[in-house]
C-alpha cells in the first residue's frame, strides 16, 4: 500500500523503485546511504519549495512572507524573531493555518501574486473576526499588563496597536494551550530552555561537568568503536577532534558537523603533531585494516608510539611554557651528568645472613660507583657471596615546596647488562633513622638503555606490619643489587654470570601524578583473531601498549573481546587482567568505557580486558564480576576498575 501511494503520487518507477534497487544492490549499508539520500533529496527540493508556502508557523514567524510582513506589521516581526520557532504566536499561527487550509483546496495551483493579495484580504478578515470573538479576553489581559506599556506606547497609535497585538497573541496562546495535554503538543519549548535541558545542560542525563573545556582527539574516528565514541562525546558536550586518513565526503558525512577534522596518518609524526595540539585527552581506536605486518606495525605499534610521543611533547611544551612549574612536569631527583653529581651517593654492601661463616669463605663482593670517561655514571661489580648485596643510596633533597606525594612514581633512565634491582624507599623522621620504615619494589632493566617506571603503588613494606608507603615521608632512595639465586641446573658459566652487574644511570625523576587518564588505547584481547595471524597482531598491539606505558602519560588500555555490532548497555561486563576472557563485547560498550574512563581516576594507568559476562563453570570462577544494568548516571566503571592493579 505504501508503494501504492508512491505509485499514485509519483510516476511509476520513481522514488519507490529507486529505493528498492538500492536496497537490492547495496554492497554495504553505508554505501546505501547516499543512494537513499538521492531520491529523497530530489524530492526534498520540490517539497522544500512548496513547503515554504505551506510552512508551519515556525517558518512563518521566522521568515515573514510578503503577505505576512504587510498585514502582520508587529506580531510576526518582533516576537517572531525574539522567540524563534518555539514560542509560536497564536495569531500568526492561526493565519498560517487558515491560509494553508485554503491552499489545500487549490493544492497544486501555482502561487501568483494575485492569490497572495487575495489571501491578504482574507487574512484581514480572519483577524478581525478573531479579534471580535476573543476581544473581551484580550482586553481583560491588556489591562493587567498595560501599565508599563501606556507610558512607552501611548504616543504612537501604531506602536500601541502592535503592542496590544502582542499581548493578545500571548493570551491566546496560553488560552489555547489550556485545552491541550502536554503529551499532545509540548513542542513549544523555548531555545534557552533547551540549553539547560539538552546540549551540555545540567539537566541532560549525559552531561559531564567540564566537558565543554575538554578537547578530545579521537584517532580512528571512523572505526566501529570510534564512530560511537565521537557521538557519545558530542552528546556529552565535549569538543571533539577527529584524526582521519581520508578527507572524503563519505568520511565527513559520517562525522558530526562540529567535529574538528584533522586529516593525517598516525604513521606520519608531523600530522600527528598538529592533531594533538590543543587536545587534553586522546582516545585511540584506530586499528590496522589488514593483518599485514607492515600495516600492523604502522598503526598498532608505531601509530601509538607517534601519538603518545607527540602528546607527551605537547605536554612538555606546555610544561616548558610554565618553566617546569606545570602540573605536567616531572620532578628531577637525580641527574648523572658530571662527576659531581655522584656526590651524596653512598655505596654500601651487606648480606642477608650476617652471622654465617660461609660468607667469609665465599669469593666476596666488589662494587664501585664511578663516573666513566664516556660521561656515564656506572655502578658495577659482582656479588659472589651468598645472600650478599650491593646498594647505592642517597638522601633525597627535593626542591623547596615539592613533595613526592604529588607524584605517582619514579622513572629511572638506566642502561647496563639487564639485571634486576630492588628499589628501596625509606620513610620516617629524618632525625631518628632507627624509626624509619623501608619499602621495596623490584625494577627490571634490559640490556642496553631503557626507562623503567616504578610506581609508588608497587612498593611493599619490608616489615609486613607497616602501613603502605606514603610518598610524602620518603627521605632516602636506595638501589640495591642482589644476585638471583642460582639454580643448580643453570649454566652459570656462560659469559653473563648473573652475579656480575653493571648499571649505567642517566637520571631519576618523579612522575607527576594526575587524577585522570590522558590517553585511552583500545587494544585487543587476542581472542577472536584468526589463529595464524594472532601472534603478529598481538605482537604489534603489545608493542604499542608498551610504548604508551613508557611514554609517561596517564594511560588506560582497554582490551575488548571480539567486537559485536549491537547496542550497548544490555549485558553485564567483566573487567579482568590477564588474558582470561573469552566472550565478545559490543562496540557501544567499549565506546562507553572509553568515555567514562576519561574522567575516572581509577582508570588511570590501568590495562584491563573486558568482555560480556558469561556463566562460569562451577568451581571455576576466576573473575571479579561486576554487573551493570543500564540506568541513569550509572557508573559501573569505578567499582569495576578500583579492584584492578595499576601499572601492570
Amino acid at each position: 500500500m505504501a508503494a501504492a501511494i508512491v505509485a499514485a503520487r509519483a510516476p511509476p518507477g520513481g522514488g519507490g523503485a529507486a529505493a528498492v534497487i538500492a536496497y537490492h544492490h547495496c554492497a554495504s549499508p553505508s554505501r546505501a546511504l547516499p543512494l537513499a539520500a538521492g531520491p529523497s533529496a530530489g524530492g526534498g527540493v520540490v517539497v522544500g519549495r512548496r513547503y515554504h508556502h505551506h510552512g508551519g508557523a515556525c517558518c512563518f514567524a521566522a521568515k515573514p512572507t510578503q503577505v505576512a510582513a504587510e498585514v502582520d506589521q508587529g506580531g510576526a516581526a518582533e516576537p517572531g524573531v525574539a522567540s524563534a520557532n518555539a514560542a509560536v504566536e497564536a495569531k500568526p499561527r492561526k493565519k498560517a493555518r487558515s491560509r494553508r487550509g485554503r491552499k489545500g483546496k487549490r493544492s497544486s495551483s501555482s502561487e501568483t501574486r494575485t492569490t497572495a493579495v487575495l489571501e491578504e484580504e482574507e487574512e484581514v478578515e480572519v483577524k478581525e473576526k478573531k479579534t471580535e470573538e476573543d476581544g473581551e479576553e484580550g482586553k481583560r489581559k491588556e489591562k493587567a499588563a498595560g501599565l508599563d506599556l501606556d507610558e512607552v506606547m501611548a504616543v504612537s497609535p501604531v506602536g500601541l496597536g502592535r503592542r496590544s497585538r502582542q499581548i493578545f497573541d500571548e493570551v491566546w496562546r496560553k488560552f489555547s494551550r489550556l485545552g491541550q495535554m502536554s503529551s499532545a503538543s509540548s513542542t513549544a519549548l523555548a531555545e534557552e530552555e533547551q540549553a539547560v535541558l539538552i546540549r551540555g545542560g545540567p539537566m541532560c542525563e549525559f552531561t559531564v561537568p567540564g566537558a565543554q573545556d575538554t578537547t578530545v582527539l579521537v584517532v580512528g574516528a571512523t572505526s566501529r568503536i570510534g564512530r560511537i565514541v565521537v557521538r557519545k562525546l558530542m552528546l556529552r558536550g565535549y569538543n571533539v577532534k577527529a584524526l582521519v586518513r581520508r578527507n572524503d565526503a563519505e568520511v565527513i558525512d559520517m562525522l558530526p558537523r562540529s567535529v574538528d577534522i584533522v586529516v593525517g596518518d598516525v604513521g606520519d609524526p608531523s600530522t600527528v603533531k598538529s592533531a594533538v595540539s590543543g587536545c587534553s585527552k586522546i582516545i585511540y581506536c584506530a586499528t590496522a585494516r589488514s593483518t599485514i605486518t607492515g600495516d600492523l606495525n604502522r598503526v598498532d605499534n608505531q601509530g601509538v608510539r607517534n601519538v603518545s610521543k607527540a602528546f607527551q611533547d605537547y605536554y612538555n611544551e606546555l610544561a616548558q611554557l610554565r618553566a617546569g612549574k606545570s602540573s605536567k612536569s616531572k620532578l628531577l631527583i637525580a641527574k648523572f651528568k658530571s662527576p659531581k653529581s655522584l656526590n651524596g651517593w653512598e655505596v654500601d654492601q651487606g648480606s642477608y645472613f650476617p652471622n654465617t661463616f660461609a660468607s667469609r669463605f665465599d669469593e666476596g663482593i666488589d662494587a664501585s660507583f664511578d663516573f666513566s670517561e664516556a660521561g656515564q655514571a656506572v655502578l658495577s661489580g659482582f656479588v659472589f657471596t651468598r645472600g650478599g648485596y650491593v646498594e647505592i643510596s642517597k638522601r633525597l633533597s627535593l626542591p623547596l615546596g615539592s613533595t613526592l606525594d604529588r607524584y605517582d612514581g619514579l622513572l629511572f633512565s638506566v642502561g647496563g647488562n639487564g639485571r634486576s634491582y630492588v628499589v628501596i624507599l625509606e620513610t620516617g623522621p629524618l632525625a631518628d633513622t632507627s624509626q624509619s620504615k623501608k619499602y621495596f619494589a623490584r625494577m627490571t632493566t634490559k640490556v642496553g638503555f631503557c626507562r623503567v617506571r616504578v610506581p609508588f603503588s608497587a612498593f611493599r613494606p619490608v616489615n609486613p606490619q607497616d602501613p603502605p608507603l606514603d610518598p610524602f615521608l620518603v627521605h632516602t632512595l636506595t638501589i640495591r643489587f642482589e644476585p638471583k639465586r642460582q639454580r643448580p641446573g643453570d649454566g652459570s658459566q656462560s659469559a653473563t654470570d648473573p652475579r656480575n652487574f653493571e648499571l649505567i644511570l642517566e637520571y631519576i625523576k618523579a612522575l607527576p601524578t594526575g587524577q585522570e587518564t590522558d590517553f585511552i588505547l583500545v587494544s585487543c584481547s587476542g581472542s577472536g583473531i584468526e589463529p595464524n595471524r594472532r601472534e603478529q597482531v598481538l605482537k604489534a598491539k603489545k608493542a604499542g601498549e608498551d610504548a604508551l606505558r613508557r611514554s609517561g602519560l596517564g594511560y588506560t588500555i582497554v582490551r575488548p573481546g571480539p567486537l559485536q555490532e549491537e547496542p550497548g548497555g544490555q549485558r553485564a561486563l567483566i573487567f579482568d587482567q590477564g588474558n582470561r576472557i573469552s566472550q565478545g563485547i559490543s562496540c557501544a560498550d567499549v565506546a562507553d568505557i572509553c568515555v567514562k574512563a576519561l574522567h575516572d581516576s581509577t582508570a588511570r594507568n590501568k590495562s584491563f580486558d573486558v568482555c560480556y559476562e558469561y556463566v562460569a563453570e562451577q568451581g571455576n570462577e576466576l573473575y571479579e564480576l561486576v554487573a551493570h544494568l543500564p540506568d541513569k548516571a550509572n557508573n559501573y566503571l569505578t567499582p569495576a576498575l578500583s579492584v584492578l592493579e595499576k601499572n601492570t
Binding site: A19, H24, G179, P202
Partner: protein, 386 residues
C-alpha cells in the same frame, strides 16, 4: 472497501468540515479485513507493480545483499520533545540513527551534531518515504503533527503511508507512541487518530511495539515554570484531571529496553510517571520551588468547552477547535496514569530510576536560579568595568 475509498478521498476532504464525521465513521468501522486487502491485493494496476516488487524484494535482498544491521534505526519526528531524547538515547547506546525530518528553511543541525544522519522527507508526501527506509531495521515513530497544522495530514495519512511502506520494505520492528486512554476519547481528533493508527499497526502484520504515554514533564516548564519565574500570569484550569507526567529521557530509555525485549514484542505498553498530578498541584509545586507566588488565572473548563463549540462552527477555526478538543478530556474526571509495576517487571527496570516530577522541577529551578544569579553577577561586573 469503504475505508480504502475514504483513504483515497481524504486529501480532498481535508478542508471540509464534514471530514470529521467521515473519518470517525470510517475509523470505528475499520475492522481487520479492510486493511489486509489493501496490503495484499492492491486494487489498481499501478499499485500492484510496486507493491509486488517490494514484497518479493524482501526475502531475496536478505539472502543476497548485506543483511540489515540491527543497530540501524529510523526516528520519525526526531526534532520533537520526545524525538530528540530518543535520538540521543539511541546514539548513546550505539545505534546508527537516521532521522526523518521535514525539509525546512532552518535545518535541524543539532541532530547532525550529535552524530545522527538526517534525511529529508515529509510524511504528508508519501513518495518521499520509501527512500528513507532503505537499510533500516527498526522504525521509531514519535511524530505528531504540529499543533498548528491540520491533524490529519501527518497523524493519519502520513502514518498510514509510513506503516504501509514499512511493511512493504520489510522493516523488522515498528515502535509507535500513542496517548493513554486514546480508545476512550474518540471525540478528541488526535486521540482518535492515535487509536486508529494503533489498530492499523496491529493489523498490518509488522512486529510492533506501541507505547502509550500520559504526559511529559518537559511540557510543564514552558507552561508553568517559566511564567512563574518571569512573574507572568500562569493559566490553569480547574479541571480535576490528573496526569502522571514522565520525563522524556525516561521514556526514551524504557523504549529501548522494551524494544530489545522479546517479551514486549507485539505488545501495547503504557508508560506513566510515578504520580498523577492535577494542574493546581503542579502550579503549587512550582511556586514552592521557585520561592515566589504565581499569578494564576484559572479558566473554568466550561469556558474552554464553550470556546471549542464556538470555534467549531467556523471552517477556519476548525483547527483551533481541534486543539481545544482536550477540554473534553479535561472536563471528564479522568486519571491519566496506570500502575507501572508490571511494566517495570517486564522490562527489568527499577522504579527508583524513574524521575519524579518533584525532583525534575527541583533540578530545573535550582539550575535556572543559579543561572540567573550568574547572569546578575556578570552584569554587575560589567557595571564596574564601564
Amino acid at each position: 472497501m469503504a475505508s480504502s475509498t475514504s483513504l483515497a478521498a481524504l486529501p480532498s476532504q481535508l478542508a471540509s468540515p464534514a471530514r470529521r464525521a467521515a473519518l470517525s465513521r470510517s475509523a470505528t468501522a475499520r475492522p481487520r479485513h479492510h486493511h489486509h486487502p489493501l496490503l495484499r491485493e492492491p486494487p489498481k494496476g499501478c499499485r500492484l507493480v510496486v507493491t509486488c516488487n517490494a514484497q518479493t524484494a524482501v526475502p531475496t535482498s536478505i539472502a543476497q545483499g548485506t543483511p540489515v544491521r540491527p543497530t540501524s534505526i529510523l526516528v520519525v519526528g526526531a526534532t520533537g520533545t520526545l524525538g530528540r531524547q530518543v535520538v540521543r538515547r539511541a546514539l548513546d547506546e550505539g545505534y546508527d540513527v537516521r532521522c526523518l525530518v521535514r525539509p525546512r528553511p532552518a535545518p535541524a543541525d543539532f541532530l547532525r551534531d550529535w552524530g545522527a544522519t538526517v534525511v529529508n522527507a515529509d510524511l504528508s508526501k508519501p513518495e518521499t518515504i520509501p527512500a528513507t527506509l532503505v537499510g533500516i531495521h527498526t522504525v521509531i515513530d514519535c511524530a505528531t503533527g504540529r499543533p498548528e497544522e491540520p491533524i490529519r495530514t501527518v497523524d493519519w495519512e502520513g502514518k498510514v503511508a509510513l506503516i504501509q511502506c514499512a511493511k512493504a520494505m520489510g522493516i523488522q520492528k515498528y515502535v509507535f507512541y500513542s496517548i493513554h486512554n486514546c480508545d476512550k476519547h474518540p471525540e478528541v481528533p488526535l486521540m482518535e487518530i492515535k487509536h486508529c493508527t494503533e489498530k492499523f499497526i496491529q493489523d498490518a502484520g509488522l512486529d510492533y511495539l506501541i507505547i502509550r504515554l500520559c504526559g511529559f514533564m518537559q511540557g510543564l516548564i514552558g507552561q508553568y515554570a517559566v511564567p512563574i519565574l518571569e512573574e507572568k500570569s500562569v493559566w490553569g484550569t480547574d479541571a480535576p484531571t490528573r496526569i502522571a507526567y514522565m520525563d522524556t529521557q525516561d521514556v526514551a530509555r524504557l523504549t529501548f529496553i522494551a524494544m530489545r525485549n522479546e517479551k514486549a514484542s507485539k505488545k501495547l505498553l503504557t508508560f506513566a510517571g510515578p504520580r498523577a498530578w492535577t494542574t493546581q498541584e503542579v502550579i503549587t509545586l512550582c511556586e514552592r520551588l521557585a520561592g515566589q507566588d504565581a499569578n494564576v488565572t484559572t479558566v473554568p473548563v466550561a469556558v474552554l468547552r464553550f470556546t471549542r463549540q464556538l470555534t467549531r462552527f467556523f471552517q477556519w477555526t476548525n483547527d483551533v477547535a481541534d486543539r481545544l478538543a482536550f477540554s473534553e478530556v479535561l472536563s471528564s474526571d479522568t486519571i491519566f496514569s496506570v500502575p507501572m509495576n508490571d511494566t517495570y517487571q517486564l522490562l527489568g527496570v527499577d522504579s527508583k530510576d524513574i524521575l519524579t516530577l518533584e525532583k525534575y522541577l527541583q533540578d530545573y529551578f535550582t539550575n535556572i536560579l543559579k543561572k540567573l544569579k550568574d547572569l546578575k553577577a556578570q552584569s554587575k561586573q560589567t557595571d564596574i568595568f564601564f
